[in-house]
Symmetry: C2
Subunit: 330 residues, 2 copies
C-alpha cells in the first residue's frame, strides 16, 4: 500500500455571504493556494450558483492537485446546518426554504461536502490556523453587520440538538431594551454590539451632545467607521459610543464564560477595528460580572487571521476534522 | 476468559452537601441496593469524614458485592472539579482550600474515585436513569437554596477549560438588579429563582399588597413553602411571586437555549414543588425571548427522579461513564 503524501492533498473552502461568496483552495498546512470570489446575489437559483462556482474552481483543481488529490469541500454559510448539510430559511439569501446544498455540491464536484454556519467555520479556522491554536475550549464572537458565534468545547464545536447552537448574538443582554430591527426581540446583544447597533447608539448619543463631532455628518453617513474616526480624534461622544457598546458586550461575555468556562474569547469582524475603544470596557465589564472562580482567567483577544482568509480556512478545515457525533451522511 | 457478569458490579454514589451527605450502593441497572447518610458538618477534618464514611459503607460492600465486584466511587460535591478530583474553596464546607478528595477516597477504599459538582451529577443521573434517558443535549437546572446547573452536549458534560463550566445560577438576568446576598453580583438568576430569592421577592411584594395572605405570617416565617401554600389558596400576591420568578427564570432559559440548543431543559430541586405556578410563566417567557428557529422545540420538564436518589445515582454513574477528554488520573 502506497503512503499518501498529505502535503499534496487539497480542500476547497467556501464562505457564502448574502452578497459575496469567497473561495480558496487550501492545503494541509493551511496555505491558501489560490482564491477568488463570485457574487452570491447574481444567482437566484442555487443550481446556477453551483454551476458557476464549478466553472471557476475546476480549472484550479486541475492546476494544483487533480481530482485524485482533491479531498473535499467545506462550506460556511448563514443558517447552514452541520448535521443535515442544508441551508435553512436564510433571510439574506435568495435561496428560500430548506436547500440541500451539500448534496448538490457533492453531485457536481464528486467529492464529500460538509457545511456549518459562518461563525462556526471561522472558529474552526482559528483553532487550526489562528489565535486559538492548541485551545480546546474557546468562544468566537463575530462582530460585523450582525453578531455571530461559534463555541468550541472539548475541541468540538457545539452544534446542539438541532445543529443550530451558538446564536449568541440573539441572547438578551438588557431585558426590555432596544428592539431589534429584524427579529423584533428586545435588548439582544446584536442590537447593541453589531455595526448596525453601534450606528443606532451613535445617532442617539449625538442628538444628546450637540458639540459632538458626530454632528458634522449627515444622518445617513453615520456608521461605525465614522464613529471610529471621531473617536481617534478625541471626540468624547464617539468614545462613549464604543464604551457603552463594550459594556454591553462585556456583560454578555460574562454570561457566556459562566456557561462554558472557555480558555479564551476571540473577537472577530469589522467592529474590532475599534480596538481598545471597545476591548477595554468589554474586559472591564466582563470581569465585573463574573462569579469569582472565573475572574482573571479568560483571555479576551482579537482574531489573528485576515477576515476573508479565516472564513475560507475554517470552511476548508471541515474537510479534515473528525466528524462530530450526530453528523449524518446523506 | 470468563465474561464479567455486569449485573453483579456495584458502585458507590456519594452526594456531599454542606449539612448532610447521602450515599448509596448502586448496581448497573440504576437500582439503589442500600442507602444511608451522615452529617457532613460533624467532621471539621476531611480525613475523619472519609474514615467515618468507610466504617459505614464497608460492611455494605461486603454484604452486597465484595471488593472484587466493587467498581468504584462517584462523588457529587459543591465546587468539585472533575479534572483534578479536588474540592476547591467550597464556601459551605468546613474543608478549606483545595482538598484532594478523590485521591484520599481511593487511598482509603482502594478503588477509583471520580468527582463532579452536584448539579453535574444530577444531570448524569437524569441521562442514565431519569427524564433525560436517550438525550444527548440537555440542560439541568437545580432550583434549591441556590441555583445550580449541569450542561450536557453531544452526550458529554461541559466541563470547560478549568472544570468549572456551568455556573448558570450566577449568570446575570437583570443587569444592575437585585444584589446577591453572598457573591455581591447584581441581578443574577440565583438572586431571583432560588428559594432564597423567592423569599426576598415575597417579602417585598407582601409589603406592597397589605391584603395578601402573606401578611398573616411573621417576617422570619416567610419562605417558598409558605408562598406555595398561599398560592394554592388563591392569594394573588403569592401567585404573582411565582409568576415573577418564572419570568426571570424563563428569560434566563431563553439565553441558555441560544447557547447550546438543547433538546430539553430539566428542572430539579425544592422550588419545582410550585409546579405550574412557576412552570407556565417560565415557558411563556422562554419562548417569547427565543430567536425564531428555536421556538416550540425545547421541552421544559421536571425531573423524574426522587431528589436524594438522583444525586446518588448521578454520582454513581460517574464510575461507569467514559472519561471525558481532559480527565486526569493522579
Amino acid at each position: 500500500m502506497a503512503l499518501i503524501d498529505l502535503s499534496r492533498q487539497v480542500a476547497l473552502g467556501v464562505d457564502i455571504g448574502g452578497t459575496n461568496t469567497k473561495y480558496g483552495l487550501v492545503n494541509h498546512r493551511g496555505e491558501i493556494l489560490e482564491k477568488g470570489n463570485l457574487k452570491t446575489d447574481d444567482f437566484p437559483e442555487v443550481q446556477d450558483f453551483i454551476n458557476a462556482l464549478y466553472d471557476k474552481v475546476s480549472p484550479l483543481i486541475m492546476k494544483y492537485c487533480g481530482q485524485r488529490h482533491f479531498d473535499g469541500i467545506g462550506v460556511g454559510a448563514p443558517n447552514a446546518n452541520y448535521f443535515t448539510g442544508t441551508i435553512e430559511q436564510a433571510p439574506n439569501l435568495h435561496w428560500k426554504g430548506v436547500v440541500p446544498f451539500a448534496r448538490l455540491m457533492t453531485e457536481k464536484f464528486e467529492v464529500p461536502c460538509k457545511m456549518t454556519n459562518d461563525a462556526n467555520a471561522a472558529a474552526l479556522g482559528e483553532m487550526m490556523f489562528g489565535a486559538a491554536r492548541g485551545m480546546k475550549d474557546f468562544i468566537m464572537i463575530t462582530l460585523g453587520t450582525g453578531v455571530g458565534s461559534g463555541i468550541m468545547s472539548n475541541g468540538q464545536l457545539i452544534y446542539g440538538h438541532d445543529g443550530f447552537a451558538g446564536e449568541l448574538g440573539h441572547t438578551i443582554v438588557k431585558p426590555g431594551g432596544r428592539k431589534h430591527w429584524s427579529t423584533g426581540s428586545e435588548g439582544s446583544l446584536e442590537a447593541y454590539a453589531s455595526a448596525t447597533g453601534i450606528t443606532i447608539t451613535a445617532k442617539k448619543m449625538r442628538a444628546e451632545f450637540p458639540n459632538s463631532m458626530l454632528n458634522n455628518y449627515l444622518e445617513e453617513d453615520i456608521n461605525s467607521k465614522v464613529v471610529y474616526e471621531c473617536a481617534t480624534k478625541g471626540d468624547p461622544t464617539a468614545i462613549e459610543v464604543f464604551r457603552y457598546t463594550g459594556q454591553k458586550l462585556g456583560e454578555a461575555l460574562a454570561n457566556f464564560v459562566m456557561f462554558s468556562s472557555p480558555e479564551a474569547i476571540l473577537l472577530f469582524g469589522g467592529v474590532i477595528k475599534a480596538g481598545d475603544f471597545i476591548l477595554k470596557p468589554a474586559k472591564l465589564h466582563m470581569e465585573r460580572n463574573l462569579f469569582p472562580i472565573f475572574r482573571n482567567k479568560v483571555k479576551l483577544v482579537f482574531s489573528e487571521l485576515d477576515e476573508a482568509d479565516a472564513a475560507i480556512l475554517g470552511a476548508s478545515a471541515l474537510v479534515w476534522e473528525n466528524e462530530s457525533p450526530g453528523f449524518r451522511k446523506y
